[in-house]
């Protein structure tokens, strides 16, 4: 997998059989472009129609019009409200006009919260572990690393039940410690803590940490720094790229999660967006297709925006791990 990643970054330039586009048009080149553009049409066609349909009236969607007669922006407002995507309540003091309370709720907000917690938690847990594997010598290092890696082979469906039972039990323990707020089930811990120690992230970071030159470590040690200090003040500032990759992959991971949240959430308090959208759509069949499309567009936009901004992290991260969330 790692070799794929290296190849990916090396692929586009320099090594091609013939460098640079050739001048002149031949029949075969027209054919190549025709196939490639057909591919583009197939890849983005459903998205284009999704966007177009999200502005239509219901009957226009049902008749499969290509473009709406009039852009119905209110579809988005209705979808946001009906699908319970985002609800912001601002209360101001009637006399002074000062902000009194601000309450945000809805699936988008839940997914954002879950993403933040799981990415932060994952980084805190994985960075020291990856550092230990990459730059420290200790008894059993290779064995423990192999053991960690072997857990990636286990299919998710096998883990589902033990995770559920463990989460229920630990939740009870934590409730007895922290009261009702400490519950795991239908709360953020069940949705995030089991995924903190991601072997993918540890592997990704380790590969990067190994490449940091030893000279830096020698210099830091002469200056009296130990491992924790070296990690915080030298390694971390150098590791922006893999950390960005982890953040982007973590973001899509939480945004897409469906199976596990279906099991551990019972109401809208922490239910993430994929479950919300799925419930919205399966609950209203045949339903308001234009609103379903608007809701889908809303779900897709953050991921697409992130993709266009951080394209490199996406492709490299996915090629390195071979997965997406």
């Amino acid at each position: 997998m790692a070799s794929d990643a290296r190849a990916l970054s090396a692929a586009p330039k320099g090594r091609l059989p013939v460098d640079g586009p050739r001048k002149g048009i031949s029949l075969s080149r027209v054919g190549i472009y025709a196939v490639l553009f057909a591919g583009v049409l197939i890849a983005v066609g459903p998205f284009l129609w999704m966007i177009s349909a999200s502005f239509m009236t219901l009957s226009e969607v049902n008749l499969t019009r290509l473009l709406p007669e009039k852009l119905l922006w209110e579809n988005y407002a209705t979808a946001l409200r009906r699908a319970n995507f985002l609800d912001i309540e601002i209360a101001t003091d009637p006399q002074t006009g000062m902000l009194q309370s601000l309450s945000v709720s809805g699936y988008i907000w839940n997914s954002v919260r879950i993403t933040l917690i799981s990415v932060l938690g994952s980084l805190t847990v994985c960075i020291p572990a990856a550092y230990a594997f990459a730059r420290m010598r200790f008894v059993g290092r290779n064995f423990i690393f192999a053991l960690f890696l072997s857990t990636m082979m286990i299919p998710g469906i096998v883990m589902l039940i033990p995770h559920l039972l463990t989460v229920i039990w630990l939740g009870r323990l934590s409730e007895s410690l922290f009261g009702p707020a400490g519950a795991w089930f239908n709360n953020w811990p069940a949705l995030t803590i089991p995924f903190f120690a991601s072997v993918f992230n540890i592997f990704l970071l380790r590969q990067f940490f190994i490449q940091i030159p030893d000279d830096l470590w020698e210099a830091a040690r002469i200056d009296g720094a130990g491992h924790p200090r070296f990690l915080i003040s030298v390694v971390l500032p150098l590791s922006k790229a893999p950390i960005m990759t982890i953040i982007t992959l973590g973001f899509i991971g939480s945004w897409n999660a469906l199976m596990w949240p279906l099991l551990v959430t019972i109401n809208d308090e922490w239910r993430p967006i994929a479950v919300g959208l799925s419930n919205f759509v399966t609950a209203d069949t045949p339903g308001d297709l234009n609103l379903q499309m608007a809701a889908s567009v809303i779900t897709v936009i953050p991921i697409l925006a992130l993709y266009f901004v951080a394209q490199k992290q996406f492709t490299e991260g996915i090629a390195q791990t071979g997965i997406r969330g």
Binding site: S3, D4, A7, L8, A10, A11, R15, G20, R22, I32, V35, G39, V40, A43, V44, P46, W49, M50, T64, T124, C126, A129, A132, F133, M136, V139, I144, L147, F148, T151, M153, I154, P155, I157, V158, M159, L160, P162, H163, L165, R172, L173, S176, P194, A197, I202, P228, N256, L258, M259, L262, L277, V281, Q292, M293, S296, L304, Q311, T315, R324
Partner: protein, 553 residues
């Protein structure tokens, strides 16, 4: 800061040995959070799932039922599977022992025998610890139910926890475990002190692992024999006969025949003298006999199996067969075209990746609408352009074979499943193309030059240079894709409709349904385990068949 107050400690840490100890300690502290979580949510769950699968378990542990869940899932084949598992554990023990022990023993010098002895004690102590742990699990799993309704305080929880540790069974196993741990600690100390300087750690570890594997094999074998005999006795009491033993023999013999046929066949096509023909004939005969044995016995062994599960497996197979080759070949074609000297390469690459990175829920919903059954739905509109009458797509239960009027055995997937297959192909083509493009970039350009000088044409270059050198990528992608079909969930969840029922449920979706709707954790665990075994077996198989030329750089 605190170092200065303990000059003795500071001096001790300044020595080489002290630094080593400190480095080890720091490393373990760094690893602790990740290690704890990976143990809890990565390693322990496998054993736990197996444990649950041996019980009736609805949210809380109920009765121990042995292999009954497996029998319910697979019929008699469940028992046969466990025999193979026990033999596999024994084979693994022998493999580890024979492969690793002798060279380690040589390198560790005179302390070898003592180290092996210490390792055996450690391995057995580990087995005792696992035994204690799994005696404890069902007891402490009941705590949430015991404290339900009461005001859960820490002291109440701890009190219940203490009671569980003190319950008779757990207590006895705990004492055994402590004894074992004490003995193994003693053995390690003795070995470390008596044979200083010898490389004894690896030897101890390997012999401990071998011991644990032998114990696991023994446990599985004992469990299987007991359960099988129990099932046969129970059947006899109700006046039926349960031919598990004969089925075990015949099915194993059939599989062994087919495996040998394969080996003989490979020998045969390598051999260029007159034995070749004879070898091929023998191979064909063995294949025929093995196949006959399997065909004759397998249906009877599977007679009592869960039909929905079997259908789930069959749907998974069709799903994989219908998507993986298509998506790989289109992905390869696109990558090959992208690799030509063209403009806008990065634009194409970026666009092709979009279906793969966007949330599956959202794109599945679009496909739900595109392949709606309505006369004006996009897919039907396109069909009407080329003059085909509208289809019911995601609402269609009937199979392709039915719709085309083919005989039953050519039934194939339902039309609804085909929609899911189209969706999944659409999603993964871009991913495959991007990874293929990377693989193409790895092939040295000189090879193309050389081939062109030799006068090779485009297709021949592709066939004899590109494809063989791309084989590691093909291997990697097909493995990922097949495992992906076993894991597919979101698209099926969204694209399945009530009208189609279970005609689109792959095995994992069926297991999830079983879990969510009827809370039968034990049964669901046993099915998940069977699926796990299948995936593992397939990975090994694919590794052997396809992975010979793959190198992981």
């Amino acid at each position: 800061m605190s170092m200065t107050t303990f000059p003795a400690l500071k001096r001790a840490l300044a020595t080489r040995r002290g630094r080593l100890v400190l480095e080890n300690l720091t490393a373990y502290i760094f690893l602790a959070p990740a290690g704890l979580l990976i143990f809890l949510f990565g390693i322990f769950p496998v054993a736990f799932a197996f444990f649950v699968s041996l019980h009736r378990w609805r949210r809380f542990p109920d009765q121990y039922v042995g292999l009954a869940n497996y029998e319910k899932a697979l019929g008699n084949l469940g028992y046969i599977l466990f025999f193979w598992l026990a033999i596999a554990a024994a084979a693994a023990a022998i493999w580890v022992g024979r492969r690793l022990l002798p060279p380690l023993r040589e390198s560790s010098g005179e302390g070898g025998l003592a180290s092996i002895f210490a390792g055996v004690i450690c391995g057995y102590a580990a087995v005792l610890a696992v035994d204690w742990f799994f005696k404890l699990i069902p007891v402490i799993m009941l705590i949430p139910r015991q404290v339900r309704g009461q005001n859960t305080t820490l002291s109440l929880f701890m009190e219940k926890l203490g009671e569980s540790f003190a319950s008779a069974d757990v207590y006895a196993a705990g004492n055994l475990m402590l004894g074992g741990l004490f003995l193994s600690l003693l053995a390690i100390i003795i070995v470390a002190w008596r044979f200083r300087g010898a490389q004894s750690v690896p030897l101890i570890a390997v012999s401990a692992i071998t011991t644990a594997l032998i114990c696991a094999g023994f446990f599985l074998l004992q469990l299987t024999i007991r359960e099988t005999n129990g099932a046969i006795a129970a059947a006899r009491e109700s006046g039926e006969s349960l031919p598990i033993w004969s089925q075990l023999v015949f099915i194993s013999a059939g599989l062994a025949m087919i495996a040998t046929a394969w080996i003989v066949f490979r020998r045969g096509i390598k051999d260029y003298d007159n034995k070749r023909f004879a070898l091929l004939i023998v191979s064909g005969l063995m294949l025929a006999v093995g196949g006959y044995l399997l065909l004759a016995e397998a249906p009877a062994a599977l007679a009592a199996a869960d039909d929905d599960l079997l259908q789930g497996f069959w749907i998974t197979v069709m799903y994989a067969a219908g998507t993986v080759p298509v998506q790989l070949s289109i992905g390869l074609l696109l990558a090959y075209l992208l690799f030509q000297p063209i403009r806008f390469r990065s634009f194409f690459r970026m666009v092709y990746f979009i279906p793969y990175i966007t949330p599956f829920v959202a794109t599945s919903i679009v496909f739900r609408i595109i392949f709606d059954a309505g006369k004006h739905a996009p897919a039907n509109r396109m069909l009407s352009i080329i003059g085909i009458e509208p289809q019911r797509w995601i609402l269609e239960r009937s199979t392709i074979g039915d719709l085309l009027g083919l005989p039953d055995f050519l039934a194939g997937p339902s039309l609804a499943l085909i929609v899911i297959m189209i969706y999944s192909t659409w999603t993964y083509i871009g991913y495959d193309a991007v990874i293929f493009l990377a693989g193409l970039g790895n092939i040295p350009g000189e090879l193309y030059e050389a081939a062109r000088i030799d006068g090779a044409s485009g297709w021949r270059i592709f066939r004899h240079i590109t494809l063989p050198l791309l084989s590691p990528t093909v291997f990697f992608l097909s493995l990922v894709a097949i495992i992906g079909t076993f894991q597919a969930f979101t698209q099926i969840w969204i694209l399945r409709t009530g009208a189609v029922g279970n005609r689109v449920n792959t095995a994992s979706v069926y297991i999830f349904d079983e879990l969510q709707n009827s809370n039968r954790y034990g049964y669901a665990s046993s099915m998940a385990f069977v699926l796990f075994a299948l995936i593992l077996l397939m990975t090994l198989f694919q590794n052997r068949i396809m992975g010979r030329r793959v190198f992981y750089g």
